[in-house]
């Protein structure tokens, strides 16, 4: 029983990471209508920036903000210099460009940090475990869930309650219409991509003390984020949040029964959802 509770908590923390990652993917998919195949590389950028800032003595909170900012800037450049210029070209070119960019980023990280990968011990305050009476709960897992939830709430507030957020939602619904109201659609798309990329970076930073990082470690996260996106429903912005937490918990519980098959399970779910043409949990189209 304790084991099940522990796995649920573990799953919630991991699921929150998936949700942060997938919400970023969802914003980019919604605004630019491209699957961001560089999302995993942006996750890795966030992890390494968090690592570097921590090793030079920055507080962990600053390192996390740095992870968000660095990936957002890389995302901004990817959109401005790449996607925006390919906007008139075929969809395939945009997808291949993102794929190529991911490889460039990953190999650059290998060049800078080497192939062995890095890890980070969480700050003392977040190390160890809290005694809940019936089980010990690793403090960092709680932190992971909390920061993930805060980030999601912050993005929700930005998108639902601010002026720029209503522009983003309008752009997701009718991209061709917003420019007819005087909104610079190019700026909006760049901003949306940077925001989504920043969330991948933040997820990378949060995950670093948990999973460590190497140049390609974002790829597994990205694969799962795509599963989350499909399961949450492609037309729905926040379906990714619910689906992310669900998948985190499901995967975590599955390791109790069939550890080797737990990852296979979620990929099977994704392909099945796509095959039967389901709209996912919250899809509107």
């Amino acid at each position: 029983m304790t084991l099940v509770a522990a796995q649920i908590v573990n799953g919630l923390a991991i699921g929150m990471l998936y949700a942060v990652m997938a919400l970023g993917l969802s914003i980019i998919k919604g605004l630019l209508n491209v699957p961001n195949f560089a999302h995993g590389a942006l996750f890795a950028v966030g992890a390494y920036v968090c690592y570097t800032l921590s090793t030079i003595g920055a507080p962990f909170a600053v390192a996390l903000l740095g992870a968000f900012a660095a990936s957002a800037i890389v995302g901004l450049l990817i959109e401005r210099l790449g996607i925006a210029n390919l906007a008139g070209s075929s969809y395939l070119l945009q997808v291949l460009f993102l794929f190529g960019t991911a490889l460039v980023i990953e190999q650059s990280l290998v060049l800078i940090y080497g192939t062995t990968g890095v890890s980070l011990v969480p700050p003392a305050l977040l190390s160890g475990a809290a005694n809940l009476g019936f089980m010990f709960l690793p403090r960092y897992l709680m932190f992971c869930a909390l920061v993930g939830a805060l980030a999601i709430v912050a993005v929700w507030l930005l998108i639902e309650k601010t002026k720029i957020g209503s522009r983003i939602r309008a752009g997701i619904e009718r991209r061709e219409m917003v420019q007819c109201l005087g909104i610079d659609i190019g700026m909006l798309l760049t901003l949306g991509f940077a925001l989504g990329a920043g969330m991948a970076g933040l997820a990378g930073g949060i995950a670093l003390p948990l999973l460590g990082a190497n140049a390609t470690s974002g790829n597994d996260m990205m694969a799962i984020a795509f599963v989350v996106l499909v399961l949450g429903g492609l037309g729905s912005l926040y379906g990714a949040v619910v689906a992310g937490i669900l998948i985190g918990v499901a995967q975590s519980l599955a390791t109790l029964v069939a550890p080797a098959a737990s990852t296979l399970l979620i990929y099977v779910i994704m392909t099945a959802v796509l095959l039967v043409g389901s709209k996912g949990l919250f899809g509107e189209r």
Binding site: E173, E176, Q179, L181, G182, I183, I185
Partner: protein
């Protein structure tokens, strides 16, 4: 000097001709109808003015400045509003949010006052302010699309096919409101319409288009007597 002058406009989509030499001019506070059947070049003309399609030939002059080569967002900033064919409201946004997005080019401090004016013209929108736009009827959505475009306080309003799919009584109502707004705000309106009967009674002048060319341009008083118009467009 006219507010807007379009001279010998050519629009091309690949090898397909959208317009082949359309000319028009509109004064402040005037409703000008662009009348013609599907494919006559009405939408192409409006889209070219707004910078949504590239101009292959001719000139577009607004307030003495050449609009060619500007982005749509820049053209809107200069004082041109647009309500496209099919309304294109933001379905998941509330009515109020749709209007606020329309106010993008204006200072935030003006938004509330302008919304009150728009609600004054369209009381139905005030009643439904918090509802999603997708829950509105076709006529209400058309009112919202007009209100949204007018939030930017344009000098010139491009209105594409507002009567499409609406009951005659709703079309008449929208016409009355447009006339009211024109008088109160000295608004110039280019009304692209297939419903020639309605458009010619609402507008003071009209341009009749066929296959991308101007057939005849005159005051609506004269056009309503012109056999070329009455025979082909008014069914009399």
């Amino acid at each position: 000097m006219p507010l807007l002058t379009v001279d010998d406009l050519h629009v091309r989509y690949g090898h397909i001709q959208g317009t082949q030499g359309i000319s028009l001019a509109i004064e402040p506070g005037e409703i000008l109808a662009l009348v013609g059947s599907n494919g006559a070049g009405k939408s192409s003309t409006l889209k070219a003015i707004l910078g949504l399609v590239p101009v292959a030939g001719g000139t577009i002059t607004f307030l003495g400045a050449d609009l060619r080569g500007l982005k749509a967002s820049q053209i809107v900033r200069r004082g041109i509003g647009f309500s496209p064919e099919g309304r294109r409201v933001f379905p998941q946004l509330s009515v109020a949010e749709n209007l606020r997005v329309g106010a993008h080019t204006r200072p935030v401090a003006e938004t509330a006052e302008r919304m009150e004016q728009i609600y004054g013209y369209f009381p139905r929108l005030r009643e439904r302010a918090r509802q999603r736009a997708s829950s509105l009827s076709g006529g209400e959505q058309q009112m919202l699309a007009i209100g949204r475009a007018l939030m930017s306080r344009p000098k010139l309003f491009l209105l594409d096919e507002p009567s499409l799919g609406l009951a005659p009584i709703i079309v008449e109502r929208i016409g009355d409101i447009l006339e009211d707004i024109r008088q109160q705000e000295n608004l110039a309106v280019i009304l692209a319409e297939q419903n020639a009967h309605w458009a010619l009674h609402l507008a003071s002048r009209a341009v009749i288009l066929e296959l991308g060319r101007t057939v005849v341009a005159s005051t609506t008083g004269e056009l309503l007597q012109d056999p070329r118009v009455t025979g082909a467009y008014l069914g009399t």
